[in-house]
């Protein structure tokens, strides 16, 4: 079988596997549901997720260890992932192929020529990684201030890594100068640290997920393509799925895909930070694409279908090559090979970068994270509308782990987890926030799906016991996402004397976190005088009531001296009179002229903040369907100690 055919089979296989994972990410045990499918596997294979979270947290979480396999294979083989595995790459590959059909060979060759803009993706990678490395730098500086011996080990390691990275990225053969740059940067950091308290200036922010193709393609398929495709078929979801701001996710996806019609694999060549990382990692690949000696007549046919625009006809650019193997197949003279010996026509082993570019992008990245934090959104200026899923880490830790992949939003059975816009600041774009209006209910009491699908533990995989504060967690209590607040100006019983308490009824915790205060309130224009009365009915002077309006079981007659216990429930009313229940006849019968009030029994909902978990079922069910009369905000959420509402008491 031809190597190109094998590649196509591989791409098709991984693409189908990826789509299958997206389709089956619904909670349940059916064959088209979650069961035990490793639906986040592609995210775990993605070494940018692993590297990003290592930089921000210093740990490699659970399944992300799969990235080691990708890294090892890339170091040996080059960018195989891009050409053989990546589902987003497969989409680009196919659309690019479709877009250039019918074009002449020379036009195809022109489309695949190397462009200097292809180095932009490396700068994107540097910005993203530098932004994620703030806390690592902080720990180095802290060690320096502590004067510990570990500091010098850290500095040594940092210099070694820096030099290695600079060599690997090979700032165009100016390795000695690059070494100098790295040393100056490190020196500057240490110097700054001696004069200033640096912790405040330093923050780590994981923004790789914005452009990392794997989170991007997960997010786009799960939050945009599937809900769109399923809206009529309804095979995947029980009803229409909604995602707030999904248009922006879809627009980025469509833009990335349609750009293939202008230049094939546009995203892979110019934008993809994961491809850039693979380009750097493949620096010492054992096998490479290259020219054999002799034979080549410079017909350039090898470049007609070159996916990476890596110039196989001349000095092949190793970091750009995605191992599509088309050149191997297209060459009529058998003068291109994938082998250990270097290309006869020479190779460009390093990305095409300038020293200035590297310095500027690294520095911008390091500055960007503290700059974004200046808004105080992860500190005192926190936004109470940002309600995170149950088990989410405290905001600043959360932002060091969330890769915006949207898996939690996909799996949530009630469709309440949504991609944030700017509610959580610049850094929080497309991170999960809860919206209790859109979904089919609130956060289900007995569900912990989001934390178990999260590939980076930005939402911890909590147990039901922990969520509900049972057994080992009795002392810690339930996990609270926020607290419900009654808007007394909008609530039907509070503001308009109408009975309701849907919120109290639907509150799922026991004892209920919503309690009611029972009051009897004289209705608007409800003070009358008796015209005449008998044991069960009373005619009123100057009354003009709506017949039947007071017969709902919620209205009562109050005579002078009546207390709440002695009020009589109205069973029926005419325009001018009311009848009361047979269980409590008038005794004595009120004489004409007696003042009489018509009262409504109201149950006014109030919140017990010790019991409320912020699950939002009340907000979802509130009949004031626009801006709800009971709304959850993140107050008292258990993930942030300083958002607590109540005085903490320790029982002995």
């Amino acid at each position: 079988m031809r190597i190109v055919t094998v590649r196509r089979i591989s791409q098709a296989f991984f693409f189908v596997l990826f789509m299958w994972f997206c389709v089956v990410s619904s909670l349940g045990t059916g064959w088209m549901q979650l069961r035990g499918w490793p639906v986040s596997w592609f995210l775990e294979l993605d070494p940018l997720n692993a590297l990003g979270t290592i930089l921000t947290t210093g740990t490699l979480y659970s399944g992300l260890v799969w990235a080691l396999a990708t890294v090892a294979l890339t170091v040996l083989l080059g960018r195989f992932f891009c050409g053989w595995v990546c589902p987003f790459g497969a989409i680009h590959h196919f659309v690019g192929f479709a877009g250039r059909r019918g074009k002449g060979v020379s036009a195809k060759i022109a489309g695949n020529r190397y462009r200097s803009g292809q180095s932009v993706k490396y700068y994107i990678l540097f910005v993203l990684l530098a932004g994620a490395s703030g806390s690592l730098a902080a720990s180095a500086i802290r060690a320096a201030l502590g004067g510990r011996i570990g500091f010098w080990i850290l500095v040594g390691a940092a210099v070694a890594i820096g030099v290695a990275a600079a060599a690997a990225a090979g700032t165009a053969g100016k390795a000695r100068k690059a070494r100098g740059v790295v040393l100056i940067l490190l020196g500057a950091w240490v110097a700054v640290a001696f004069f200033f308290s640096v912790d405040r200036m330093i923050a780590a922010s994981l923004q790789t997920g914005l452009l990392d193709p794997i989170p991007l393609v997960y997010r786009s398929v799960n939050l945009f393509l599937l809900p769109l495709a399923d809206s009529t078929a309804q095979r995947v979801f029980a009803g229409q799925r909604y995602y707030d701001g999904a248009w922006a996710i879809g627009a980025l996806f469509l833009a990335a895909v349609l750009l293939n019609l202008i230049i094939p694999r546009f995203y892979c060549r110019f934008v993809c930070p994961l491809g850039a990382l693979f380009g750097v990692l493949g620096r010492y690949a054992l096998w490479r694409i290259g020219r054999r000696d002799g034979e080549c007549v410079q017909c350039l046919v090898c470049e007609a279908h070159c996916e990476g625009a890596c110039e196989p006809s001349g000095s092949v650019r190793i970091p750009e090559c995605v191992l599509c193997m088309n050149c191997l197949h297209d060459c009529g003279h058998d003068s291109i090979a994938y082998r250990t010996a270097p290309s006869e026509a020479g190779e460009v082993a390093a990305p095409d970068l300038t020293r200035r570019g590297v310095v500027v992008t690294l520095a911008s990245g390091v500055v960007a994270a503290p700059m974004m934090r200046l808004g105080g959104i992860a500190a005192r200026n926190w936004n109470p509308e940002v309600i995170r899923p149950p088990g989410a880490l405290a905001e600043s830790e959360f932002l060091t782990r969330c890769i915006k992949c949207g898996q939690c939003m996909r799996v949530c059975p009630t469709n309440i987890i949504h991609p944030a816009g700017f509610e959580a600041g610049m850094e929080g774009v497309w991170t999960p926030i809860l919206n209790y209006r859109v979904g089919t209910s609130g956060c289900q009491l007995n569900c912990v799906a989001c934390g178990h699908i999260c590939p980076t533990a930005a939402i911890r995989p909590i147990s039901l016991d922990e969520k509900l504060g049972r057994n080992a967690y009795v002392g810690a209590g339930r996990i609270r996402m926020g607290t419900a607040f009654v808007d007394r100006g909008r609530c039907l019983p509070w503001a308009m004397d109408r009975p309701c308490i849907v919120c109290q009824e639907t509150c799922p915790v026991s004892p209920k976190a919503i309690f009611v205060r029972k009051v009897y309130s004289t209705v608007h224009g409800g003070a009358f005088r008796v015209k005449k009365a008998d044991a069960l009915t009373v005619e009123l002077l100057e009354a003009d009531l709506q017949p039947g309006r007071l017969a709902t079981g919620d209205y009562f007659v109050k005579l002078p001296g009546d207390t709440e216990e002695t009020l009589r429930r109205i069973s029926e009313n005419t325009r001018t009179g009311v009848a009361v229940g047979a269980d409590k006849p008038f005794a004595p019968i009120p004489p004409p002229g007696t003042p009489l009030e018509l009262q409504v029994r109201l149950q006014l909902p109030q919140i017990d903040p010790e019991r409320c978990t912020g699950c939002g079922v009340c907000e979802h069910e509130c009949p004031v369907s626009g801006r709800r009369a009971i709304r959850v905000t993140a107050e008292n959420e258990s993930r942030e100690r300083n958002h607590s509402l109540l005085l903490r008491r320790t029982s002995k």
Binding site: A238, N446, P499, E505, P508, P511, D554
Partner: protein, 331 residues
């Protein structure tokens, strides 16, 4: 110039071009004429939707039947209660297509008794099929996410394993419906599709406290057939329960008072909300069933105005003793 232009257009070509232009103008004119709307839109809120009415599923000669069984085993109690009425065969005949309306209100385990007990449901399905029913459908439109509700309460698996099919509410299953003589349920979305092709309806409700109305029993159970933003009906809870009872005329209702939820209703959530009341009520009169159920909760018909309202509307009788209910001890 002009001369050469005129020369370029032959008479034949001129006619062809004129004919095409004329056809375009005619088509535009015709379209304009057909689409012309001199008054503008009426606003979708003012359009009267085509409304459906649920048919009567009761059996006239079996009106006013009631049996009360005591015992802590639901399977034994339901069989014991059905026995004096002649068994399920009295109500379900060969070839009947039965709809069982359960209460799956919230996604909580069966042990908390906020929902229809799955074991009881399985037994009722089994009895229906044994009596010759050709199909049994189980449905409800709960508060929480329907899929989670049916899964976590055990209702979904129990129904399926007993041989019934479960219909989860989806947008396409609702139709606008009305209640003849009703004031509240008018052109309101009803979970109607499951009723299509069905000729027998059984209401299977747990006995629960309900903070707003006082109690949730067989009549309140029909609330789960309403769609839309039904929570507005809480403003007139007793009349909406009355109208629900007018809307559904079931073949049979079963009120499961084996374990009653005494407080924190209708969702409960704690074993301390529950009390063993060891009673199973089977009746063709939902008002009578609820009136008796109220006594188990320690309430009177005057505490629960919807009962007398339903009686007044002619749905049934609150004086359950007048039906001479059969009282049996189960197993």
């Amino acid at each position: 110039m002009n001369a050469s232009d005129e020369k370029g257009l032959s008479r034949r070509e001129f006619f062809i071009r004129a004919a095409k232009a004329g056809a375009c103008i005619a088509a535009a004119g015709y379209l304009g004429y057909r689409l012309y709307d001199p008054t503008g839109p009426v606003g979708s809120g003012r359009i009267e939707p085509a409304s459906v009415v649920l048919p009567d599923f009761s059996i006239p000669e079996l009106r006013g039947k009631m049996a009360i069984a005591t015992g802590s085993d639901r399977i034994k109690s339901i069989n014991a209660a059905l026995k004096p009425l002649g068994g399920m065969e009295t109500f379900i005949k060969k070839g009947d297509r039965v709809l069982i309306k359960v209460n799956a209100v919230i996604a909580s385990p069966a042990s908390l008794s906020a929902t229809t007990h799955p074991g009881l449901l399985a037994e009722v399905v089994r009895l229906c099929l044994q009596a010759g029913a050709s199909s049994a459908i189980v449905t409800d439109n709960p508060i929480n996410d329907p899929e989670s509700c049916f899964a976590l309460t055990g209702i979904g698996p129990a129904a399926r394993s007993a041989g019934a099919s479960v219909i989860l509410p989806r947008e396409g299953l609702f139709r606008f419906g009305s209640v003849p003589g009703g004031a509240l349920i008018k052109d309101w979305p009803l979970l109607y599709a499951p009723f299509e092709g069905v000729n027998k309806v059984i209401g299977l409700a747990p006995l629960k406290d309900h903070h707003r109305s006082g109690a949730s029993m067989t009549m309140k159970n029909w609330y789960g057939l309403l769609g839309g933003r039904r929570n507005v009906f809480h403003q007139d809870i007793h009349n909406i329960i009355k109208e629900l009872a007018m809307m559904v005329r079931p073949t049979l209702v079963i009120l499961d008072g084996t374990t009653a939820m005494m407080t924190n209703g209708p969702t409960g959530g704690s074993l301390s909300d529950l009390k063993q009341t060891d009673t199973m009520i089977v009746s063709t009169d939902q008002v009578a069933a609820d009136a008796f159920g109220a006594t188990l909760l320690g309430r009177t018909v005057y505490d629960l105005p919807f009962i007398l309202k339903a009686q007044e509307a002619g749905v049934g009788t609150a004086d359950y003793e007048s039906l001479d209910p059969a009282r049996v001890q189960a197993g």
